[in-house]
């Protein structure tokens, strides 16, 4: 081996890497560890895990490919990136599936050892693409990662299968070297993860180090170049990476504390991609959380309603098909005016649809999807970290207005991670709940004249024994009533209560650009990053365009109609077939135009830029 001076590292402003392999190859772990080391290096970043619904699809098949994409950079990174700069392909199927997103001139890092005849055939390659000219538009770096891994662990007495499972650490080590990342946090993590299997811990660390050392010493160094990506200018403070699921879990706890409630009862039924929230909260009992895995979606929301009735914060969570099952219970929560929070991690549908793929197609369901006139509040998280503030706000509105609140997240946000500047708990909002305790003149539908919220009187309180239910109540006594005028009054009161929340939320401001002009791009939920970046680019190109992003979907902020009317055109990108656009048109009679994407994947920035430029008049 010839020792040579490593070439100087080249500088990059931002990079998109996609790790892809078999669903058993540990690509999600690889991506997550790269994310942590990248965050620690001070880059801004956004990630996009993309994996199949099959837990272990047959090895080597295209439908078993699991991928993890990360964009990181020296500037504000708001999306996982449109085009991939570096594709790490652990087998032929991964190359087959993911190549289409690699930019021309991009880099392929492939495990040549996995490009066997058998795997090539499974992926549908007639010939080995690493050996013919089919990958000529790209820079191809091939290593026999399988053999290099086996060599690295030969002293640890691992089985062939165990050794094979360490391959991802070799790839990770190489990529950490390539971008000048430290690997100590990953070494520490491996030692914790395999605390009970010291041999596996040592083997994984050895493989990680081997991948890293390979980069430093490789003879092919004219091809294998290291890069630097300078850290992003960010506000001072303490940071961590956070996924949408974690942010919502912690936000719910913060909201419970802000409301002065002693406990949260979180009830869920397993469903992709919402189960993560149940798993996360099941480990947070010391923060006042009781979790309940119910027998079905209906029982889960039923338990949340029962808990709210008994004075706890009742929370349930699901995805589209499960939310549909909860519909009747939502009606009960509306009729009995009990505060619950329902988190909907939307996925592609209808019906079972594509369980692991993202979509924003439950907006109609959230706003309108119930029998009768049954309004409730609907909020949406715009990014992974935004889930924290939105969850707190959901608890505030639920408890202040005695109403169910639906918090819309989606499959992308559930898994996506980004750096988050940690708030100071002492500085979070406070909105203490006051349970009703005074028997004088009490009935359960006594209302706060300001908010129209009914009294929250919980079992255990002497003198306030009362009965509630789904039957219509008399406005003045809370007893069952079939009186026609009373029903009209109660219906209007329920509507007015939810509409009144508009007076208790911030006025809508543009997220970027002026509050008037030629074009407004209006979004909600996880499209925030893509829209923001697209509008930013269009403005740099001199276009008169603003980004408006809605957190409050029911009710809308009270100035929203006026704001939209100050733009010549309104474009509404959504990962559905056009739902917000219809709500806006119905509410404000504005000629909003939809931009729909229903492919189970987030928008690319370029798709939105293209739409803005096409609207140029």
């Amino acid at each position: 081996m010839t020792l040579s001076t490593p070439p100087a590292r080249q500088s990059r402003d931002s990079v998109v890497i996609r790790f892809a392999g078999d669903s058993g190859d540990g690509m999600q772990v690889t991506g997550s560890r790269f994310t942590v080391e990248t965050a620690l290096a001070g880059n801004d970043l956004t990630t996009f895990p993309d994996f199949p619904a099959e837990i272990r699809a047959p090895a080597g098949t295209t439908y078993g490919v699991s991928a993890f994409q990360i964009q990181f950079g020296a500037r504000d990174v708001m999306t996982p990136g449109d085009a991939v700069d570096v594709l790490v392909a652990m087998n032929p199927a991964a190359l087959k599936v993911e190549l289409k997103d690699l930019r021309v001139g991009g880099t392929i890092v492939a495990d040549a050892g996995a490009f066997t005849e058998r795997n090539l055939a499974k992926a549908g390659f007639p010939a080995n693409p690493l050996e013919d000219r089919s990958l000529a538009p790209y820079q191809v770096l091939t290593f026999d990662i399988t053999r290099l891994t086996t060599d690295a662990v030969k002293d640890f007495g691992l089985s062939t299968r165990e050794a094979h499972r360490c391959r991802n650490m070799w790839a990770l080590g190489l990529m950490l070297w390539m971008y000048g990342r430290d690997r100590q946090a990953t070494i520490d993590w491996l030692r914790r993860k395999f605390a009970d299997h010291a041999d596996l811990a040592r083997a994984n660390v050895a493989v990680l180090n081997a991948g890293h050392a390979f980069g430093e010493t490789a003879e092919m160094s004219e091809h294998l170049v290291g890069y630097t990506v300078p850290s992003a200018p960010v506000e001072p403070g303490r940071y961590r990476t956070v996924s949408g699921t974690e942010a919502i879990a912690w936000g719910l706890i913060a909201g419970m504390r802000a409301a002065g409630l002693e406990k949260m009862v979180f009830a869920g039924y397993p469903i992709t991609p919402a189960s993560l929230l149940l798993h996360t909260l099941a480990n947070l009992k010391s923060h006042g959380v009781i979790t309940f895995q119910a027998e079905d979606e209906i029982a889960a929301i039923g338990a949340a309603i029962g808990a709210a009735y008994a004075g706890a914060l009742g929370v349930t969570s699901s995805s589209g098909p499960g939310i549909a099952l909860k519909t009747e219970m939502l009606g009960l929560a509306i009729a009995t005016e009990l505060p619950i929070v329902v988190v909907d991690s939307q996925r592609a549908g209808p019906s079972t649809g594509m369980p692991t793929k993202t979509e924003q197609s439950d907006l109609f369901q959230a706003v309108h999807g119930r029998n009768a006139d049954a309004p409730l509040a609907v909020l949406a998280a715009a990014s992974a970290s935004d889930g924290f503030a939105v969850a707190i706000e959901a608890v505030r509105i639920a408890t202040k207005y005695m109403t169910p609140v639906i918090l819309l997240s989606d499959a992308y946000l559930a898994h996506a991670a980004e750096p988050w500047r940690l708030p100071d708990a002492a500085a979070l909002p406070r909105f203490p709940v006051r349970f009703h305790t005074d028997p004088d003149g009490f009935h359960p539908f006594l209302r706060n004249p300001g908010t129209l919220a009914r009294a929250w009187a919980v079992p255990g309180t002497p003198g306030l024994e009362h009965r509630i239910g789904g039957l219509e109540k008399d406005y003045d006594t809370g007893h069952i009533s079939y009186d026609p005028e009373n029903h009209a009054r109660m219906t209007r009161t329920r509507v007015a209560k939810i509409a009144g929340i508009a007076n208790d939320i911030p006025l809508q401001q543009p997220a970027l650009g002026e509050d008037h002009g030629a074009v407004a791009v209006v979004g909600w939920g996880s499209t925030y990053g893509a829209i923001h970046r697209a509008v930013d680019e269009a403005r740099e190109d001199g276009l008169d365009v603003s980004h408006i992003h809605l957190r409050y979907l029911n009710p809308f902020p009270r100035n929203l109609g006026d704001l939209l009317k100050r733009f010549d055109r309104v474009i509404v990108p959504e990962m559905n077939n056009g739902q917000l656009v219809q709500l806006l048109r119905a509410a404000y009679l504005v000629p909003a135009e939809g931009l729909s994407k229903v492919e189970g994947k987030p928008f690319k920035v370029a798709e939105i830029v293209h739409a803005i430029e096409a609207k140029r008049t």
Binding site: A39, G42, A185, V234, E235, P236, G237, R238, Y239, R240, T241, W250, A254, R257, E262, K263, V265, A267, L284, S286, H287, G288, V289, I290, F292, A294, E295, I298, A299, G302, A303, A304, I305, G306, A307, A308, Y309, A310, G314, E328, G331, L332, T336, R421, L422, A425, A426, L428, P459, G460, T461, P462, E465, H466, R467, I468, G469, G470, L471, I480
Partner: protein, 343 residues
């Protein structure tokens, strides 16, 4: 939350009634059950403020409106789910579930299965009238084969479910059965159900005077009852009959019961089975007894306590630090993997 302790005056059964006019059909068996529940509450000295009645939908589900305790009239079949949430939020509350054969065994069968299996500390009273009353008389999951109803004009071809057999199959640790009009026994069973920690299941045969009048006459009519009912009591021989001389014994060489006469020329007293309410196999034999060959078994058929779900959930939660407030939110957010960007 903590329950405020106050010293109540001793309450009479009528003190557990609400100011609402009872709107069941005149002569409905529900009146008798309401009376028995109020009497049981009085005898238990139940505190109204810490007692909650939860119901689903149906005639029986109106029950909470007629009591002066806390009450929640929920939606069809789902009372067990809501009651579970109430117990998880506040295990100190005394929670009753009122349901019917349609509510609890048809639309809500799944919840009934799981609330019993989990052993949530609730008293579940299922009013079985073998008919959908509130929707005007359709056959129910407990209706006998051949039941003519608006939806089965030629008679139902379905086989009915046995409420108590279902409960035992679901893993219920307390299963009892009573007749609406047999007040003394009903009141006693409700008290037994209340004393049991865990899910207590009580089936009450309840006569619907409008749509299914007399459906239980075969064993509830005054003249038929003595020979068609057996009132089981833990530790006592399984004897019945107007002269108290009939008994149940294991049919030799089989796993089936048979009715025998005890005394001269009949079976020996020591052949008669003694009721053991902790014996699930015996309970399964008892719930299956049907007239005319057998008497209907009433009383506590099975009682074999185990820790309740809510108690176990809280034990685990406390072991994980629940209740040691205030947990530190800042520490949660900062527990690992953070970094500082200097200003």
């Amino acid at each position: 939350m903590t329950i405020t302790t106050i010293t109540d005056a001793v309450l009479a059964p009528k003190d557990y009634g609400s100011d609402q006019e009872v709107r069941w059909c005149p002569g409905c068996g529900d009146y008798a059950i309401l009376k028995a529940v109020q009497k049981a509450l009085a005898e238990l000295g139940a505190r109204r403020e810490r007692t909650v009645f939860v119901s689903g939908i149906g005639c029986a589900a109106r029950f909470p409106y007629y009591l002066s305790t806390y009450g929640f009239h929920t939606i069809h079949g789902r009372a067990p789910a809501i009651a579970t949430g109430i117990k998880l939020a506040n295990p100190e509350l005394d929670v009753w579930v009122i349901t019917g054969d349609g509510d609890g065994l048809s639309i809500g069968g799944n919840h009934m299965l799981h609330v019993l299996r989990r052993n949530v500390d609730l008293q579940i009273v299922l009013f079985n009238n073998e008919i959908y009353g509130l929707t005007k008389g359709q056959y129910s999951p407990t209706s006998r084969r051949g039941t003519q109803s608006p939806s089965t004009p030629q008679g139902s071809v379905e086989y009915p479910v046995s409420a108590c057999a279902f409960a035992l199959g679901a893993g219920a640790r307390f299963v009892a059965r009573a007749v609406d009009t047999q007040q003394a026994e009903l009141v006693e069973l409700l008290q037994r159900a209340h004393a049991h920690h865990g899910a207590s299941f009580v089936e009450v045969f309840q006569n619907c005077v409008v749509f299914n009048d007399g459906v239980f006459d075969q064993f509830t009519a005054k003249d038929a009852a003595p020979d068609a009912q057996i009132h089981v009591e833990h530790g006592r021989p399984l004897m019945f009959g107007r002269n108290g001389d009939r008994g149940l014994r294991l049919k030799p060489g089989t796993l089936a019961l048979e009715v025998v006469e005890v005394g001269d020329g009949g079976a020996r007293p020591q052949d008669i089975l003694v009721h053991d309410e902790t014996n699930r196999a015996l309970a399964q034999l008892l719930v299956a007894l049907e007239p005319p060959e057998f008497p209907v078994a009433l009383g506590v058929l099975y009682c074999n306590p185990a820790p309740s779900y809510d108690a176990e959930v809280y034990a685990q939660a406390r072991a994980a630090g629940f209740g040691r407030q205030p947990a530190d939110l800042d520490a949660l957010l900062r527990r690992e993997g953070t970094w500082v960007v200097e200003g």
